[in-house]
Symmetry: C2
Subunit: 147 residues, 2 copies
C-alpha cells in the first residue's frame, strides 16, 4: 500500500477501529491528516472513559487542534471508519474541517439523514472507501456483544 | 432566590456564562443537576483550550458522567444559557439527558432549526427561562468584540 494515499490514511483509521474492537468498544477509528501528515489518531472510548461524548472523531479533533495550536482545522482531512453522528459532524463544523472521508454509512445515527446541513459548507465529504471492511468490523462487534 | 428551583439552577448557569464573558469567551454557561444537586458546572472554553468542541455543554456532560461514573445521564437536567448547537444536542442524545432547559434561542446554530430530531426522544426540552438576560450577555459580548 502506497504512503500518503486516501487508502493509506483510511487503513490507519481502520487500525484504530480494530483496537477499539479489541477493547470492547464500538469499533470506530479516526485519523486526522494535515499536509499529508497524520497529526491525530483516535478510537471510540466511550466505555473506557465513561463518557458518551468520547467518539473517535471528537477525540481526534481535540487532539489535532491541540497539536496544531489552532481550533480551526481547515487544512485537515478526517478519515473515519463510520459516518459521523450529528455530534461529531457538529464538531467538524465548529473546527471547519477541510475534508471528511468516511467508510461505512450509518443509516440510523449518521448525520446525513438527520441533519445534512450540519457540516460546514466548505467541508468536502467523501464516502465509501473501505466501507465493506468497516461495516464487517461493526457487524462482528455486535455479533460478539450478543454472545 | 429559593434554592432548588429551575430559576436557581439557570442562574448558576448564568454565573458560568459571566465568567466566560470575563475571560473573553463567547458567554455560554451550563450546569448539570442530578436529584436536585449540581454535579457539574462549565462555561465555554473554546479559546482557552484551543478546542472548537469545548462548548459549555460538552464540558459539563463529560464532567457529570465522570462524577456519576456513568455515561448515561437519564436522571440529570442540563441548564444552559443558550440553545445547544447540534454537536451539543447530539452529545445530549448519546448521554440520554433527562431534561434540557435553555435560556436564549440561537436562531443561527441552535439544534431546533437544523435538526430537531437530534435530541433523545425521552429528553424533555424547556425553553426561555432567563432568556432576556442570556441574550443581553451575548449581545454585550459581541459589542465588546467589535470595539
Amino acid at each position: 500500500m502506497d504512503l500518503l494515499t486516501d487508502e493509506f490514511f483510511m487503513n490507519e483509521a481502520m487500525k484504530m477501529a480494530k483496537i477499539a474492537f479489541e477493547e470492547d468498544e464500538i469499533p470506530v477509528g479516526a485519523v486526522i491528516v494535515c499536509r499529508n501528515r497524520i497529526i491525530a489518531k483516535a478510537y471510540n472510548q466511550t466505555e473506557k472513559l465513561t463518557d458518551a461524548t468520547a467518539h473517535a472523531e471528537m477525540l481526534a479533533i481535540t487532539s489535532a487542534a491541540n497539536t496544531l495550536g489552532s481550533k480551526y482545522l481547515n487544512e485537515c482531512k478526517l478519515y473515519v471508519t463510520l459516518e459521523p453522528c450529528v455530534m461529531c459532524a457538529g464538531a467538524s463544523y465548529w473546527s471547519q474541517l477541510g475534508e471528511i472521508h468516511y467508510a461505512a454509512s450509518d443509516p440510523t445515527r449518521g448525520f446525513s439523514r438527520l441533519a445534512e446541513r450540519v457540516v460546514h459548507p466548505k467541508t468536502k465529504i467523501k464516502v465509501g472507501l473501505m466501507a465493506d471492511e468497516a461495516k464487517m468490523l461493526m457487524d462482528d462487534f455486535f455479533k460478539k456483544l450478543r454472545k
